[in-house]
């Protein structure tokens, strides 16, 4: 009888037990997907950095965050699809009594480093967020923690993880999609992340930044072979999400063209990476009016190799590290090498990555408007500009750097930027923050309201705590 039919309620088509490695791999993929996606539903940052603009549909390049629930999608991907799986992996590893201790230590450290990366992404995007009470379904209305406090904790956790990474074991081994169990590379990645976070803190807390950066700098990535890359595959659904929106094999839509501010700057610098970034129109690189309708065929669009199914996603790379070291040196922190060397290394590395040659790089670096010695007296301006170019296609990271360095100077769509014969109501501003998801307004009302007032309002103009300028 029904009383004894308890097996009827068991889902025999889905797994009830899991191990940590597939959870870790899934989290890594989810992280790469959300950071890399160009979908207007969840990642508008290539627009915000003015790399691309849209052809017809203007909500997102005009910073509308209500037409599609972008803040919700981005938040949910990080909490639910990345952090929850990492937390579950950690739980399973901890509970495993039979795993060798070195493996266990390394797996926990790898999980922790990924967590730090995901958490810092959330803070850099929203400011105060649920942290200490998050990822616990018994706390359905988690409180929001102070962003600076979270940052401090993340840095502590990162340091702890760096010490427990155990070179005697391969950690996740083959399930480690980034480094295939190479713990030495994890150590470089972890230190590079520490360098990144240190710089983010640099304007807010220079002393702490100095300590962090000086500790990390000797141990960071030293070549492109150390890059944190997610290598997408040629088959759906494991392809690069850029292909979903741009590859003719997966869509006929033609939604994106290169944006005028970016391409104009590349043109003025005769940047050798242009061909790697974009297609040409009549032999020229032509950018579309940012935030206005643009006829697809009139403008440069992304180089087809970016739309390839298996185009790799860069999540943290050597180029970025070199820029960071250049900036650290320029800030007067004690790091190996000079600012100029690191700056040159960074640009060279980027040009090589995008298909250029060392000769091209040398020519480029010799330009007065590029060269460290002459480009600008302000390190923020010259690094800001070159890092912006180098971070092309990494809209999210470029947006964070733009917020932090305040360079390049980007203008929101306005009557002044409109194409001839068109106009727009003035008043748009480029977001320096995503607003909290609509769901938080309804499901976590009091805590969200408290967080909103703590950060100066749940607005796209409220600055993250480290964004002091």
């Amino acid at each position: 009888c029904a009383k004894d039919k308890s097996d009827y309620n068991i889902d025999i088509k889905n797994p009830q037990v899991a191990t940590a490695p597939p959870l870790f791999t899934a989290a890594a993929k989810s992280f790469s997907d959300i950071i890399t996606s160009p979908s207007v539903n969840n990642n508008p940052f290539r627009f915000y950095a003015q790399y691309w603009t849209s052809t017809e549909y203007l909500d997102e390049p005009r910073y509308n965050l209500l037409a599609r629930p972008i803040p919700q999608a981005f938040w949910q991907a990080l909490y639910r699809d990345v952090l929850m799986d990492l937390r579950e992996a950690r739980k399973l590893i901890t509970a495993d009594q039979f795993m060798a201790a070195p493996t266990k230590a390394s797996q926990l450290a790898q999980t922790e480093i990924m967590e730090v990366m995901a958490w810092s992404t959330l803070v850099n995007t929203y400011g105060n967020i649920p942290y200490s009470e998050a990822l616990d379904v018994t706390k359905t209305q988690p409180k929001y923690d102070d962003a600076a406090t979270i940052y401090a904790d993340l840095l502590t956790r990162l340091d702890a993880a760096l010490t427990t990474l155990n070179s005697g074991a391969t950690g996740y081994g083959a399930a480690d999609v980034f480094y295939n169990g190479d713990i030495a590379k994890w150590r470089k990645f972890g230190n590079s992340l520490k360098l990144r976070l240190g710089l983010i803190l640099a304007d807010k807390d220079p002393a702490k930044a100095k300590t962090l950066i000086e500790a990390a700098a000797p141990n960071v990535m030293t070549s492109a072979a150390d890059n944190l890359t997610f290598r997408y595959m040629k088959t759906t659904p494991n392809n690069n999400p850029i292909a979903n929106a741009t590859n003719p094999g997966l869509t006929t839509r033609k939604d994106y063209v290169g944006a005028k501010p970016f391409i104009d700057k590349l043109n003025s610098l005769q940047d050798p990476r242009r061909a790697g970034f974009f297609t040409t129109v009549g032999g020229n690189f032509v950018g579309g009016y940012y935030g206005f309708s643009n006829s697809y065929s009139n403008f440069s669009t992304l180089n087809p190799k970016i739309a390839a199914y298996d185009f790799e996603a860069l999540l943290l790379d050597y180029t970025e590290v070199e820029f960071a070291l250049a900036e650290a040196a320029a800030r007067g922190f004690t790091v190996p090498g000079t600012a100029e060397t690191h700056y040159n290394n960074a640009i060279t590395s980027s040009i090589l990555y995008w298909g250029g040659t060392t000769a091209q790089a040398a020519t480029y670096l010799a330009r007065p408007d590029v060269a460290w010695s002459s480009a600008s007296a302000n390190y923020r301006e010259k690094i800001g500009l070159q890092k912006w170019i180098a971070l092309y296609n990494r809209g999210y990271d470029a947006w964070v750097e733009w917020k932090r360095l305040d360079y390049p100077v980007l203008a929101p769509p306005s009557p002044a930027t409109a194409p001839p014969g068109e106009t727009i109501s003035p008043g748009l501003v480029i977001p320096v923050r995503l607003i909290y998801p609509i769901n938080e307004q309804t499901l976590n009302t009091a805590n969200r309201a408290a967080a909103a007032s703590a950060i100066g309002g749940d607005l796209i103009t409220s600055k993250i705590f480290w964004d002091v300028n």
């Binding site: 009888c1 029904a2 009383k3 308890s6 009827y8 309620n9 889902d11 088509k13 889905n14 597939p22 959870l23 791999t25 899934a26 993929k29 052809t55 017809e56 203007l58 909500d59 509308n64 209500l66 037409a67 599609r68 949910q76 909490y79 639910r80 799986d85 967020i129 990822l135 379904v137 359905t140 209305q141 988690p142 595959m233 040629k234 088959t235 759906t236 494991n238 869509t251 006929t252 839509r253 033609k254 009016y289 309708s293 006829s295 065929s297 009139n298 403008f299 194409p419 001839p420 014969g421 068109e422 106009t423 727009i424 769901n439 938080e440 307004q441 309804t442 499901l443 976590n444 009302t445």
Partner: protein
Amino acid sequence: QQKNVSGTVRDQGDGQPIPGVSVRVSGSQTGTSTNADGTYTISVQAGASLVFSSVGYVTQTRQVGSGTTLNVELASDSKELSEVVVTALGITRKKNELAYAAQEVRAEDITRTRDNNLVNSLGGKVAGLDIRRNNTMGGSTNVVIRGFKSISGNNQALFVIDGVPVSNANINTANQQTGRAGFDYGNAAADINPDDVESMNVLKGAAATALYGSRAANGVIIITTKKGRKGSTNFSVNSGLTWGNIDKTTFPEYQKEYGAGYGTPATDGAGNPVPVPGFWYRDIFGNGKELITQFTSDASYGPRFNPSLLVYQWGSLDPSSPTYKQKTPWVAAANGPDKFYETALVSNQSIAIDGGGENTTYKVGYTRNDENGVLPNSKITKNLFNFGASREMAKNLRVEASANYSRIEGLGRYGTGYANLNPNQNFRQWYQTNVDMLELKDAFFRNRRNITWNWSDATGTRPIYADNPYFTRYKNLVTDSRNHFFGNITATYKFAEWLDVLGRVTYDGTGDLQEERIAVGSYAVSSYARTNRNASETNYDLLLNFKHDFSEVFTFRGLLGANLRRDNVNSIRAQTNGGLVAPDLYSLLNSVSPIEAPVEIYQRRAVDGHFASATFGYRNMLVLDATIRRDVSSTLPTTNNEFWYPSVAAGFTFSELMKQQTWLSYGKLRVNYAQVGNDAPPLSVYDVYTKPTSFDVLPLFSVSNTKNNPALRPERTRSLEAGVEASFFKSRLGFDVTLYRTLSIDQITPVSVSSATGYTARYVNAGEVENKGIELSLYGTPVKTQNFSWNINLNFTSNRNIVLKLDPDAGGNIELAALQGGVTLNAAEGQPYGVIRGTDFVYLNGQPVVLPTGYYKVTTQSNHIIGDPNPDFMAGLQNGLKYKNIALNFLIDMRQGGDLFSLDQWYGNGTGLYPGTAGLNDLGNPLRNTLANGGGIILPGVKEDGTPNNIRVDASTSAITPFGYSQNPPRAMRIYDASYIKLREVSLSYALPARLVEKIRPFKGVEASLIGRNLWIIHKNVPYADPEDALSSGNLSGYQSGSYPAVRTIGFNLRFKL
């Protein structure tokens, strides 16, 4: 001494002959029945008695005298006292014994206008019943009795056919139900042969359905099929043909002044001027720069039409086109999208035979229904077989069985929602008014290729957003089939006059196959997907019926029973990955990339019920009914899966005390209380992981998005109901009014949680929903003479629904669906179920505020309640006029109140399709002129200082228009009142008079009808759409995207009886 006796049986009231009266020799099985003219002939022993009986008349016994003629007049029965109705579990009760609301619909009222979907035919005919349909061919119909009670569970009434619970499950995908891409595969309750239905009894309240326990909360529709009668043979043939055309009041009208484009830029983007703004100016054929339509733009905010201007248009890129490489005049299309719709044709043929001998009865029926829809290349074929038989196996042992088999085959079901497979997504939202539909048709049929108006570039090889709609219909084909079998075997043994026992096995099983195709060359990635789904429900019933009359005045009916229910759903859906290799090969092996693991679903449910009921009667005047049921359900946690459902009901036939009052024919008061329930959905107790497709050789696991709950309890609905029914003047006038209140508590629902918890939803018992309302049925016969009669029947329903309380963690709101366009449907505390949220106007003194820019001020948050889809009331008015053999019936159906958000208007106004986006402004200038040229419009409202708005806002391009989506006006701007009044059904029928029928023996009756459905929308407020058109059956309503127009149907039907 055997002799032939003959005569005519007439109605005592109007003297009309009564056909079909059973004439039986008392004490034997010998009998006959009267012909169409009321005459009979029977061979009897002298001195024997004949028993004359017919439904609705008092049975009369007459002794055969010496003569050979025996004419009889039957008195019409007070039907309320004696009419037998079928109630829960197939138990028959006299209507007088019912102490709860139940409303019967007779076969003729269902089949009169020959709707393919039996469920649709109930619309407007039963108080308390909310029938929500859609306009797709074979689409599903939602049936809700007394309002939505369950927040996320099933709210649809249970269908029980001859004791067999029959699935009316919605098998459409979640995407389809939320207005995204999909197909509506219909509802299985529509697989019933309407011609086999004898009557339908709608049990509305919990007291009426309490014996069904954990599945009783939503009311039950009991369908009784026709039965063969002993000693007779009947043969009937029905043949009908109907034609349908779209009702153009439910289809867009287009502005005819401007064509393709999102705007009219003066340059080509690279800074070079264009001779005529709004066209491209390029060299595409190597003969110099020419003007070209902006055919990548799926909008009509482009340049003004000008017949003397010649431009390259989409057809100029098609080498097979007569206009290849030719320029054509820039004019509005001569043939709009309405020309895409064809005439629907439905043929309905049925045959039924029934009869019986001394110990057996039988019936066999077959219906074939061929429906060609209004979209090109659409067809549904239904073959419905039914069989039923009974036999007295031995003294006191009766065995009955029925078997029904339906095969439904669909070809080209309509794509629904926001999807390219739905041509209305273009026609209503994203379209160019310069595109001629007949040219598109020719363009497709020349080579059956995807020659579209929406090329992705000047090479004309691929569409950018929209396929040629004919390509969609002929190449992106969906096919489906359903085998549906249901039936029962029942044995009844009568131990004694006071005790019988019934054993019954019922089975309902469906096997669906759905195959969806996207052809190579389509806008979307080519694909083939197939879903196989098998579902079944088996019930085993054992019922002990007691009947004891303690005395003349004091009666008792008792019931003890058990029910075992076993459900099983087993489905698999697989699809190709990354495209198709060979065109037109629709097979999983034709996948470009290796296919992902198919989605398998296996769900089971076991419910064991034990129940008892007792009914005490006193002098036909008082009745007291009590039931109790205990259910054990496998879907609940084993520690807590046993539940009790009680009911008690009392009826008082006060007219029995007022027999001397001849104006009062019948009067009864009834009051009842019950608790029923809903168990949990299967598999909502224990957690599982999800397993996405492996990353190369690396497996992926992920924590499920929904947290299950091992502490669930069943949902409960408590219902209190009181009613009065009365009839007057020999039942010429009557009413039935019911007041009810139901409170549904412990709602089992996946509640959204902050995704900072790591989940997006979790299952909880949470929430209380109250429904209270009034149901009123009024009927009357204002005129009744020998030759003419007029019957009126009015049904009125007003239900007030409110979500009283939700889980404390739900934040006062459960989002039921997030929909395209930035609106959500919600269960919100203190609000009716299903309210629409989105951005609203900001009001000042009741007027919408307009900003200094001229645009409406919009709330900063998008969680404002901007609409309530629930109607204030619904009503149906049926009229039947009969003059001699001619009958005219018509039904007016109305719904007052209830809102919907129109994504069609939201986008279509932003893309400049509708007439309101063009024309002249208050200055007499084209409103699409720029402000500098005297264009723009003044939005109704007030400025921020409260003075009337006088700011003209630019409406010259799609990007800045205040009418539609691009400037994000308040979503509330595109909320509409979904009220309607419709002339739903009309039929004019003529029955051949008896004396003519006699001449064409063997016919016993011939009837011809002219029928019409949905002929006239008398009133509505939703522009260019049918306010009734829904996405799908299910809990979501109040939203239209790519809505299908209503179809006006006319036709004729012939019915022969032999």
